[in-house]
Amino acid sequence: MTTIARSPLHSGRTAVHEDAPGFDVERVRADFPILREKARGHQLVYLDNAATSQKPKVVMDAILRYYEHDNANIHRGVHYLSERATEEFEEARKSVQSFLHAARPSEIIFVRGATEAINLVAQTYGRVHVGAGDEVLITTMEHHSNIVPWQMLCEEKQATLRVAPINDQGELILEEFEKLLGPKTKIVSIGHVSNALGTVNPLAEIIRMSHARNIPVLVDGAQAVPRVPVNVQELDCDFYVFSGHKTYGPTGIGILYGKLALLEAMPPYQGGGDMISSVTFEKTIYNKVPHKFEAGTPDMSGAVGLRAALEYLERLGMDNIAAYEHELLAYATKVVSAIPGVRLIGTAKEKAGVLSFVIEGIHPHDIGTILDQEGIAIRTGHHCAQPVMARFCIDATARASFGLYNTKEEIDALVLGIQKVQEVFA
């Protein structure tokens, strides 16, 4: 479809934006009730999708339906509802399996989010395989959730956390990364898409280099799963993690994918109900995967909501979503970088979803407050990636991050907002 808006590129004139073929953004927007909200008296412009995404109505409906018709504790009762709830939960697992193109449903473990998934691997696989003098390899561009769990492990085991550097564009320096892979490296943990810079990492190369030395690779897909098609078998990664709430699903649910053989060999993470086959005070026999890693009553409505979100994305087509968001990002990159005094942080060739920037002489926090007055939601700060800020010698950035419902008109509003910021500080 075609929409008309005033474009700041041609001030005063009318710009016509053509959307990507095969993707009707106005229809998509109608699926997200919150987009009709006003913020500070303006139409909400939500550009904070890397922090969390909004939810389509089908996700809310699925959660409501679950509580209205299916709710009972799973894997326990012999009664009708427990059977239904168990089926819903296990169907959700299959839908995640299909979305990630995993080989088996048992390779999909429900957790609270990407953060818990990384902690799980660090505290199980990590504690078994990482010993004194060993190394864990990450990169400069990781989110704190892919730094701190490994630091905690390394501290406990007297191991060393090694960090592969990035260049001025925010791209991983592959040669340096390869040099850091050594006999002491026990695991590589790397983001698929950087939340602070938008960089898409060359996973195929990274995984090939690591596997050539028999080093397993965990991929933090928190920013990737909502934006690009993911096929864990093609990638051949050993672990892949993501969060439901950044993927248009509910909060409190996330996924750890792991290759079956690895998961089977790993000790459990938390102890409790559902993760056991039998318990006596002398000895407990653990349940099979995935249940071994799902102690306690899980987030059943969250799993149902996540399934609804993933099926919604599948109906739209991840290829279509990726193409549309690529176009949005290209447009935003062009118009925002054209504003005098604005500098982009993160200019990798391969990027997705994230536009981080700074304005000369104006702190990002002030940018955020002024844009907020225009109803524009962006994130300002270090984005839980302080080492990235240190790498670029800045304290913070302003970050606009896009979702499948954003439009070029909203990016135009962002540009006008930035111009207003500059007026206030002129």
Binding site: D366, I370, G381, Q386, D395, V424, F425
Partner: protein, 150 residues
């Protein structure tokens, strides 16, 4: 929600661009570091004391317009004041930026600091306005650890 001009008053913008007493003291009697982990703002406040009197107070660091202007104007307001004066002033300042007390131009004690009253309309920015003051308190108390707004 208030008007942007209430928050970003000319005086505040001017101080943020050209902060006063923005330097390091080589041999301070006391100093403290403060940071806001949410936005990465961080300041160091240096003090030269004469008994209970603040002979000199300077600061360095980085932060948003509000936090920098607040630090700058705090140093101006406190030079020559006693520790007790500083505590009282902070209390009044805090009440004004959190909206617990109406500021008016005739508030002789607060003086120029009343320009920060607009902050009360922007709750997320209260920590910006008070960061330097919290850091000052830590310096006066001789605390070793960095103070945090969280």
């Amino acid at each position: 929600m208030g008007d942007l001009r209430d928050l970003y008053q000319e005086v505040i913008l001017e101080h943020s661009k050209a902060p006063r007493n923005y330097r390091e003291l080589q041999n301070p009697d006391r100093k403290a570091e403060g940071f806001n982990p949410l936005c990465g703002d961080h300041f160091t406040v240096y003090l030269q004391m004469q008994g209970e009197t603040i002979q000199d107070v300077v600061f360095q660091g980085s932060g948003c317009a509000i936090s920098k202007a607040s630090a700058s104007m705090m140093t101006q307001a406190l030079k020559g004041k006693t520790r007790q004066d500083a505590d009282e002033l902070f209390e009044r300042f805090h009440n004004v930026v959190t909206g617990h007390a109406a500021a008016n131009g005739s508030d002789a004690e607060l003086g120029k600091l009343t320009v920060f009253s607009g902050v009360s309309e922007f709750p997320t920015r209260v920590k910006c306005a008070t960061l330097a003051w919290h850091t000052l308190q830590a310096a006066l108390a001789g605390k070793q650890d960095a103070v945090s707004t969280e």
